[in-house]
């Protein structure tokens, strides 16, 4: 209560911080969706790596156009359709996730439109990467120079929005091979393949330092209250009828797509 009072006095909104490590991405996305739709607090969720590789697609987008379906089926790589828009990524232990769920009034300086939110996040990350590499928000990506190391996606609802990012601290070349070159690519990509287009954050700073700097940058805008270190401890308002829309595609779904593309 005292914390709330102080934060309110200072004019900075409160934000609850969840720090996770190695949590499966599907669980993370379910949690995020639940927090977005059923909670009225501001949340920051950081998941330092996920336990096993998975492909995460945006809410709409054709599987066959974005992913090498046959290899994915063969190698049994899980494919998840998340509740936010945006593109396709492959995530694993080398990926760091940073999610911000905000009430619109918590960030009143920006409009709840994708470009405003993205630009705001660009400033946040500019602070995180100050003095490190040539960081910028380029078109819709986070890049060092002209190489992407993180993308982002959003979901905007009536009074709140979520902005989540997956950042490549490290990645495996063979995993990138599961993703196709998307039809909608940013201009600066210039038809480069994955390996010429992306880069690894680990070439720029240590993992723990990135997380600390991120928390520090968020702290300059919100009054952060750490609430949990693992998913079990999180006290989420349990809305009885909440069913997440993020889902794992079944083998059956995948085989159908395969068959259709023959």
């Amino acid at each position: 209560m005292a914390l709330v009072g102080k934060a309110r006095e200072a004019g900075i909104p409160l934000m609850k911080l969840i720090r996770l490590k190695g949590v499966p991405i599907l669980e993370q996305l379910h949690l995020e969706e639940r927090l977005l739709r059923t909670s009225s607090d501001n949340w920051c969720l950081i998941n330092d790596g996920t336990n096993s590789p998975a492909i995460v697609m945006g809410l709409s987008g054709k599987l066959s156009e974005l992913v090498e379906v046959r290899s994915v089926l063969q190698d049994q790589v899980p494919v998840i359709r998340r509740f936010s828009g945006g593109g396709t990524v492959i995530v694993d232990q080398g990926t760091i996730f940073v999610t911000l769920i905000c009430n619109k009034e918590a960030v009143p300086d920006i409009q709840p439109f994708p470009p405003s939110i993205m630009s705001w996040s660009g400033q946040l990350y500019s602070e995180v990467f100050e003095g490190i590499g040539d960081f910028q928000l380029r078109e819709n990506d986070y890049v060092f120079g002209d190489r992407k190391f993180g993308g982002n996606a959003q979901s905007i609802i009536k009074h709140r929005w979520v902005h989540h990012t997956s950042l490549l601290w490290d990645y495996e070349v063979k995993n990138m091979a599961y993703l196709k070159l998307p039809a909608k690519a940013p201009n600066y990509r210039l038809a480069r393949g994955h390996n010429d287009f992306v880069c690894r954050m680990k070439e720029f700073l240590p993992r723990y330092e990135f997380v600390e700097r991120t928390i520090k940058a968020i702290r300059s805008r919100f009054s952060l209250e750490p609430v949990a270190d693992n998913i079990a401890d999180i006290d989420v308002p349990s809305a009885t009828h909440f069913a997440p829309s993020t889902r794992l595609l079944t083998d059956h779904d995948m085989r159908e797509v395969c068959a259709a593309s023959l």
Partner: protein, 486 residues
């Protein structure tokens, strides 16, 4: 042309909106090319500060339109509100400058009663899933798309029969400023812009309210055209959004509260900072006959169809030449350490009005660029600015700012500095005026007024005057630039 009288009477945000509309409507760019700036007559009242954009602050600002629209993606329905009649609910521009979205799902069915701002459906654009909320209270009459369909921006998503009680009686009051309220629910306490009396609306000011006010004030002539220009971030008009608002509404005179958001909110901060700097102003008139002739010559001998010659690159290059002699004009002041840094590069910022608002990108290293290179770079920045695709590099690092208000009008003004720069130059329209020759005869001359705003902690009148004389000499006698040709 927007007269100076209007600047005095309207609130800042509203002013800016008019400016953007004017720019997007004007069909023939003035001789002075795109950069535009707001100007006030020297006698403008204190309640109407002449704002300016900080190049650095632009990183903090997002240039999305619809700052007036607090509600997320409240779709743009017909501005006029016929009770009991069918209104269209179109897909509003999501601010990403894209032309279409995929409809994901409906939250309502045909026949459902909906409240104002109730979510109607969810769409997906490139980057985000977005809920579209209803602008009105009413009954869903028709749903025109099914999930999976691609809907073009501006197309009608659904049709709603508007309830009687949801008619927002638009009320206006003639007043001097727009003040930022302390809470969303305050209304009727501060003056300035249209307000709604309805408690449910939280005192929201919607875009149509402001535009109607503008029509009423005679500021905007064509309501339907301006609404079209306003609805999209890009110059392409939004389909299906024509409004008949001009004729059919009533208003009474009451206060309306407009919370300042995003762009303006940041501007409150930057302008407050800029206003702390002691400015002084130096004005002069420059004869531009030689400039006009030179530009015509460039145009006549132009072999490249992509390149369009205007006055601005010539002015920019000669500015840079003058800066070589007076580097103090191209410096930054650090008030803590009381140090002035004379900047090595001439990164000349050019104020540009775009559909998304004002931007000040800068051309880097003008001292090393030829006039042709400046022309091309200026054109590149203008294109990026109007597409809202300028990146941080383009808008940071400016060392001096040039503002061409001549495209809109006005002669003299008081621009505020673009901190941490120490000078800002505003140029007016080139006008043909009669001049006296020595023999007593009258001849026509093209004159351009120049107003230099400077930081009096760093610069004094003599320095600015000499600098201006140098620049003026180069503009009036452009052949002198040849002396420096390598």
């Amino acid at each position: 042309m927007l007269s100076s009288r209007i600047w005095q009477r309207t609130g800042w945000g509203f002013r800016r909106r008019c400016l953007c509309l004017y720019i997007s409507l004007s069909s023939s760019p003035s001789e002075q090319n795109a950069p535009v700036w707001k100007f006030f007559s020297a006698s403008s009242s204190s309640s109407a500060p002449a704002p300016f954009r900080r190049a650095r602050a632009l990183e903090d600002i997002n240039f999305n339109v619809s700052y007036m629209n607090k509600c997320c993606f409240s779709t743009e329905a017909v501005a006029d509100l016929p009770v009991g009649e069918m209104v269209d609910v179109p897909l509003a521009q999501t601010g990403e400058g894209i032309a279409e979205c995929e409809l994901l799902k409906w939250f309502v069915q045909e026949g459902d009663q909906v409240e104002e701002f109730q979510p109607l459906c969810e769409v997906q654009s490139d980057k985000a899933t977005i809920e579209i909320t209803s602008r009105y209270k009413g009954k869903v009459a028709h749903l025109l798309f099914v999930p999976g369909n691609i809907v073009k921006v501006g197309e009608t998503l659904a049709k709603l029969i508007v309830n009687e009680s949801s008619l927002p009686a638009l009320i206006f009051r003639d007043s001097e400023h727009v003040q930022s309220p302390s809470s969303d629910n305050e209304k009727g306490k501060q003056g300035g812009v249209p307000s709604t009396p309805d408690d449910d609306k939280d005192g929201r000011v919607l875009k149509e309210d402001v535009l109607k006010y503008a029509v009423m004030k005679g500021i905007i002539k064509d309501q339907s055209v301006s609404l079209n220009a306003e609805c999209g971030n890009q110059s392409q008009p939004v389909e299906g959004n024509n409004s008949d608002a001009t004729s059919k509404f009533e208003w009474t005179f009451e206060d309306k509260t407009v919370p300042l958001r995003g762009f303006q909110r940041a501007m409150v901060k930057t302008m407050s900072l800029a206003s702390k700097v002691p400015h002084f102003y130096y004005a002069d008139e420059i004869t531009c006959d030689a400039l006009v002739e030179l530009k015509t010559s460039f145009q006549n001998n132009n072999t490249s169809p992509d390149v369009k010659h205007t006055f601005l690159p010539l002015l920019i290059k000669s500015l840079s030449m003058a800066l070589i002699k007076y580097p103090l004009m191209n410096s930054c002041f650090n008030e803590e350490s009381l140090e002035v840094t004379l900047k090595g590069s001439h990164n000349i910022g050019i104020a540009m009005a775009t559909p998304n608002g004002l931007v000040v990108p800068n051309i880097k290293n003008v001292q090393s660029l030829s006039i042709l290179e400046i022309t091309k770079e200026l054109s590149r920045l203008q294109r990026l600015a109007s597409d809202n695709k300028l990146n941080t590099e383009d808008i940071c690092g400016g060392t001096i700012t040039l503002s061409n208000i001549g495209a809109i009008g006005g002669k003299f003004g008081s621009p505020l500095l673009n901190l941490p720069e120490v000078s800002i130059i505003a140029i007016g329209r080139i006008q043909k005026v009669p001049q006296w020759a020595d023999d007593g005869s009258v001849y026509p001359a093209s004159l351009m007024t120049v107003n230099i705003g400077a930081d009096h902690r760093v610069l004094d009148g003599a320095t600015v005057a000499r600098f201006c004389n140098e620049w003026k000499n180069l503009i009036e006698n452009p052949e002198l630039l040849l002396l420096h040709l390598r």
